[in-house]
């Protein structure tokens, strides 16, 4: 089969992705400053989380505002398996992912029939229920949370995903995670689902006349998105060493996870990455330098930035660097009922 513009573009995307991966792999090496290294790790992790969300929210068009639930579940499952059954997080994270995916399916199954805003609010509520339940559930630590112990006898280890002497390996864990999320998004974009979801967003009636069955594919998107998010949660838990509902399952996190994707360019391959690269450092820096005493200035800047970018560049920041953006048309409304 002769090469088409589609296959050519996808080949280029893969090359750029690989180059980016290389750059990010060597980026932290010359940096000794702990604060900056931490910033990079968080940015990379959230880029991966945003990309995972993008699969359900961007490509499939379901604006889920409950992803903190899957993130938190992943963190808790991995941590509990470690603290109660001494299972290494390297395996535990997959269990966390599995449960995250399962939760996403459970939420999706009743909620997908809801349209636009009803769906968004239903997901917010589900996330909130999860938060409240975990907060009051003693077996998982409740409001006190769980401390993740550093197993001295093992020391720094990849199996146990614990590094205290040099935290650099966490960067590679996060990078691996983000790369997988990116790759999954890339695969989906070129697959039947990628095409079919865009068709449904443009014109659901025409899509149905072409044998597109929407519901099963939404469930698949939810499962993949939730699973990836759960794995991200597990990695985060190992990195920060302590989890509680207020740090891994709180409501605002459900908005912060999609934010890089939305402002970077929802439903695009590079949007979440661009968005994370801009937003996370900005929010961390404003918080450190301006928000230290709870002054709220950091929030004002952050909030203001969100408003400005959303209004000035609704198709996403990634379009500024030439990323292909969906064409303007009345039908291209991601929240259409």
């Amino acid at each position: 089969m002769k090469e088409t513009s589609i296959t050519r573009r996808r080949r280029h995307e893969l090359i750029i992705g690989a180059a980016l991966l290389l750059v990010l792999a060597v980026l932290p090496l010359p940096i000794r400053d702990v604060y900056t290294r931490n910033l990079i790790i968080i940015t990379v992790l959230f880029a991966g989380l945003a990309q995972a969300w993008n699969i359900l929210g961007g490509y499939c068009g379901q604006i889920s505002l409950s992803h903190a639930l899957y993130f938190g579940v992943g963190a808790y499952v991995s941590t509990l398996l470690l603290t109660r059954l001494a299972i290494p997080p390297t395996f535990g994270m997959f269990a966390g992912g599995a449960l995250g995916g399962l939760m996403a399916l459970l939420v999706g199954w009743p909620c997908f029939r809801l349209s636009g805003h009803y769906y968004a609010i239903a997901t917010v509520v589900v996330g909130e229920i999860g938060y409240l339940l975990f907060l009051n559930w003693d077996w998982v630590g409740g409001a006190t949370g769980i401390n993740i112990p550093y197993v001295r006898s093992v020391g720094d280890s990849w199996l146990w995903l614990q590094f205290r002497i040099d935290k650099l390996p966490y960067h590679y864990a996060a990078l691996a995670f983000a790369s997988v999320a990116w790759l999954v998004a890339w695969l989906i974009e070129g697959s039947r689902w990628g095409f079919v979801w865009r068709a449904v967003k443009d014109d659901p009636v025409a899509a149905r006349s072409l044998a597109v069955r929407i519901f099963p594919s939404k469930m698949a998107a939810a499962a993949i998105s939730g699973a990836l998010t759960g794995i991200g949660g597990a990695i985060y838990a190992q990195y920060v060493g302590y989890i509680d509902p207020d740090s891994v399952m709180y409501g605002q996190l459900s908005i912060l996870i999609p934010l890089p994707a939305v402002l970077g360019g929802v439903g695009t391959l590079w949007g979440p990455l661009v968005g994370a690269a801009v937003l996370i450092p900005l929010s961390e820096l404003t918080r450190s330098y301006l928000g230290g005493s709870g002054s709220g200035v950091d929030l004002m800047i952050y909030g203001g930035l969100i408003v400005v970018v959303a209004l000035a560049r609704p198709q996403g920041l990634a379009s500024l660097i030439g990323v292909r953006v969906r064409a303007p048309a009345g039908a291209v409304d991601a929240a259409a009922a």
């Binding site: 089969m1 513009s5 589609i6 070129g190 149905r208 006349s209 969906r326 064409a327």
Partner: protein
């Protein structure tokens, strides 16, 4: 051999208004049937019942002996019923090739075969040169052609064309007629709703005339055109040929 499509006493009302009343006719494999009638005669409603957008209130529709009335559009499509829409519904944010690929994905789950089928369909419908153009930038005639290409990519047995030639220039219309002949040559059965009489009548094998929701008459184009009831239905409507 049983007919490919059997419309059996189909009736459908919308909010008290009867769109289709007791409609019956057959379509044989390989033929091209014209569905004509004044505005409001119930032609698009009938299409909607055949392709699954709507379920008839009474009666049944069968494809090769199997009941299809009441099935969802996705299921009808998989069984081999494809259609175009009266008001073109293209996927505006996607290119021509991508649009047709959505159709190809109806029966092929992997991208390489779907892309190959889509490319082949574009060649067949003469849109290959516009493969990478965004659908929303196409001319109206090209958009119509795209809808046909997209429908063809689903490898249908039956193709429903809803006013595909309306509003085209004579040159575009002739081109469209040629496309329909090519589709027929591939063994696909066609039902077409059309207002442009001088284009439709030479093309179809038989015609079904609807008026006020009912079947007025069925027959060869030459018979139908001379039928006094048909003439009255149209002239009573102050209808003038395009």
């Amino acid at each position: 051999m049983p007919p490919l499509l059997e419309v059996d006493r189909v009736s459908k009302s919308f909010g008290g208004v009867a769109a289709n009343v007791d409609i019956s006719f057959d379509v044989h494999e390989g033929e091209i049937l014209g569905l004509i009638g004044p505005n409001g005669a119930g032609k698009t409603s009938l299409f909607n019942s055949v392709s699954g957008e709507v379920t008839p209130d009474a009666g049944e529709i069968r494809l090769a002996g199997q009941r299809v009335s009441g099935l969802r559009p996705e299921q009808c499509s998989l069984l081999g019923i494809a259609r175009t829409f009266q008001v073109v519904r293209s996927f505006d944010s996607m290119t021509v090739l991508e649009n047709v690929m959505v159709g190809a994905y109806a029966r092929l789950s992997r991208t390489r075969p779907a892309m190959a089928r889509a490319l082949e369909t574009l060649e067949f419908t003469g849109l290959a040169a516009r493969a990478d153009t965004l659908a929303h930038s196409l001319t109206p005639a090209e958009k119509r052609r795209l809808e046909v290409a997209r429908a063809l990519a689903t490898k249908p047995r039956l193709l429903l064309l809803d006013e595909m030639l309306t509003g085209l220039t004579p040159v575009e219309a002739q081109s469209g007629v040629q496309l329909i002949r090519d589709v027929l040559a591939r063994g696909i059965t066609v039902i077409m709703v059309e207002h442009v009489m001088e284009v439709l009548l030479p093309l179809v094998h038989r015609a079904v005339v609807l008026d006020l929701g009912r079947v007025l008459t069925i027959g060869a184009p030459t018979e139908v055109v001379h039928n006094p009831d048909v003439i009255r239905a149209y002239l009573g409507d102050r209808y003038a040929a395009a």
